[in-house]
């Protein structure tokens, strides 16, 4: 198969970039999208052209590194699929394919298709943990969890932190990511002690990173390779509003009669 690629090239965060056009010929339909990019890079190297910088790691859809906006859609045209799991047979021979980096103020482009996603790490560091004591380990099944709750928590835990939700959101919001991380811990009994502190800290970090505000478009859900539901955004909103407005600040304070 033959393709015309329009790829975003940018040398570093401080330089302007632009789309460059490349032709790739004789690509097998069984070739994955990233393999096609590898072939392109080999051929560019042979011609002494700087290869296209892009992120990838596991190439099996679990690490979330492969961040590419393909024809305007994060991870390309196939639903529920990461870029690394996309194959050239999903395209037509002769297609023109535009490849751009994630776009968000909080994800600066560092080179070509690579963006800096450490904003996500800082959101996690702010509250995406549970307290584990350092004594002898309890029996893992000692805490009963209702199966449907465990499954729901796993639906949220499917998030691989790739950032496609942010890349897809016209408002640059990171609500799907943050809500998935808030919910997968907040749903489980082990996550209850920090539940409301967690939602406060993670939401505040999300805002401090400069992510946008949700307008309930659900474009994030459509782009998510793990098809995580916007129901988690609603759940996070509720926990956030409850802890902001209702939960006592000082439950052990003194009261007087009158």
């Amino acid at each position: 198969m033959n393709f015309t690629l329009r790829i975003w090239r940018q040398t570093d965060a401080n330089t302007d970039g632009d789309l460059e056009t490349y032709k790739v010929q004789d690509i097998e339909p069984t070739c994955s999208f990233l393999e096609m990019m590898d072939i392109l890079n080999e051929r560019l190297t042979e011609r002494n052209v700087e290869p296209v910088a892009f992120d990838s790691d596991c190439r099996e859809g679990i690490c979330g590194m492969c961040s590419m906006v393909i024809n305007g859609k994060p991870h390309g045209p196939k639903d529920g699929t990461t870029t690394c799991q996309l194959y050239m047979r999903h395209f037509e021979d002769g297609d023109e394919i535009t490849i751009e980096p994630w776009r968000s103020a909080a994800f600066p482009v560092t080179r070509d298709l690579i963006v800096d996603r450490s904003a996500f790490d800082r959101i996690m560091q702010a509250g995406g943990y549970v307290t584990v004591h350092s004594g002898p380990k309890p029996e893992p099944n000692a805490i009963p969890i209702e199966p449907s709750i465990a499954e729901e928590a796993l639906d949220a835990a499917c998030c691989i932190g790739c950032g496609a939700c942010v890349a897809a959101c016209p408002n640059g919001a990171a609500m799907l990511y943050t809500s998935a991380k808030v919910s997968h811990l907040g749903l489980l009994p082990q996550g209850q002690p920090e539940r409301f502190e967690r939602v406060q800290k993670m939401v505040h970090q999300m805002e401090a990173e400069g992510f946008g505000s949700c307008r309930n478009y659900a474009e994030c859900e459509a782009a998510c390779p793990k098809e995580i539901s916007i129901k988690f955004i609603g759940r996070m909103n509720r926990d956030f509003l409850k802890s902001t407005l209702i939960l006592p600040n000082n439950p052990r304070g003194k009261m007087d009669s009158q």
Partner: protein, 247 residues
């Protein structure tokens, strides 16, 4: 108060303010629409149109506990404050979002989930604000629009204004815009406040459709009926005996 301050500081909280003020305005629209439909209720035995009686009731409600007209002013202030807060929060969030996504994709975007009404909220909302100014000038303060304005003669004022196709088209058009705003907004507020979930989602979205269509139909029935000649001419006699005596 610090809690409300914290709410206002956060983007989720600000959006919640949009949702709550939006709900207050939806409540107002429902009451306003219900009141307006009294134009179809005919007149009292004395020949005073029911809608004029209703307009007078709006001013006398709460009397004698509250001074004449004050209950109506309380409602006006609540709605006005809601509108102001709604617009301030929405504008701040829109600016925040523009900063969060400064660079656009080169490739054209195909929206998969975001509906046109959802993306047009700021435009449909702005049309409503502009219209509101005109609407109050025409039917509350009076003086705008070509028909003679008589304070308290609601039926007559409506009748006069809606003989003009321009006003009929304007009102019907803007009611469609409000309906479109609510098509997204009424569902969106449940999601914003965290009250939507997969069990309720379909019902809540249907409720929003019903609300948008219902508000459009209820409000546009009035200008259309006056224009089509469906409604009786306001009688000269009731213009003298109507309950607008206090004004």
């Amino acid at each position: 108060m610090s809690r409300l301050g914290n709410l206002y500081q956060s983007v989720i909280g600000k959006k919640a303010i949009v949702a709550v003020t939006g709900s207050i305005m939806i409540g107002f629209l429902l009451l306003h629409g219900w009141g307006n439909l009294k134009v179809f209720s005919g007149a009292t035995a004395a020949g005073v149109p029911e809608v004029d009686v209703y307009a007078d009731f709006l001013r006398t409600m709460g009397v004698p506990i509250l001074p004449y007209g004050s209950a109506l002013w309380i409602i006006r202030i609540v709605v006005l404050v809601s509108l102001i807060l709604h617009v301030i929060c929405v504008v701040q969030l829109a600016r925040h979002n523009r900063k969060a996504r400064p660079v656009h994709y080169k490739h054209a975007r195909n929206f998969e989930e975001a509906t046109l009404p959802a993306r047009a909220m700021i435009y449909t909302g702005s049309i409503v604000v502009l219209f509101l100014g005109f609407h109050l000038a025409q039917f509350t303060v009076g003086g705008v629009g070509s028909a003679p304005f008589v304070q308290g003669d609601v039926y007559g004022n409506l009748y006069g204004a809606f003989q003009h196709p321009v006003y009929v088209a304007l009102y019907v058009g803007v009611m469609a815009v409000i309906g479109i705003h609510l098509y997204h907004g009424a569902w969106s507020l449940f999601q914003t406040l965290g009250w939507d979930n997969p069990d309720r989602n379909k019902s809540l979205r249907m409720l929003s459709v019903a609300l948008g269509v219902g508000i459009f139909l209820a409000f546009s029935a009035i200008p259309i009926s006056f224009f089509s000649g469906e409604m009786n001419k306001p009688s000269l006699q009731h213009a003298d005996t109507s309950s607008r005596s206090n004004k």
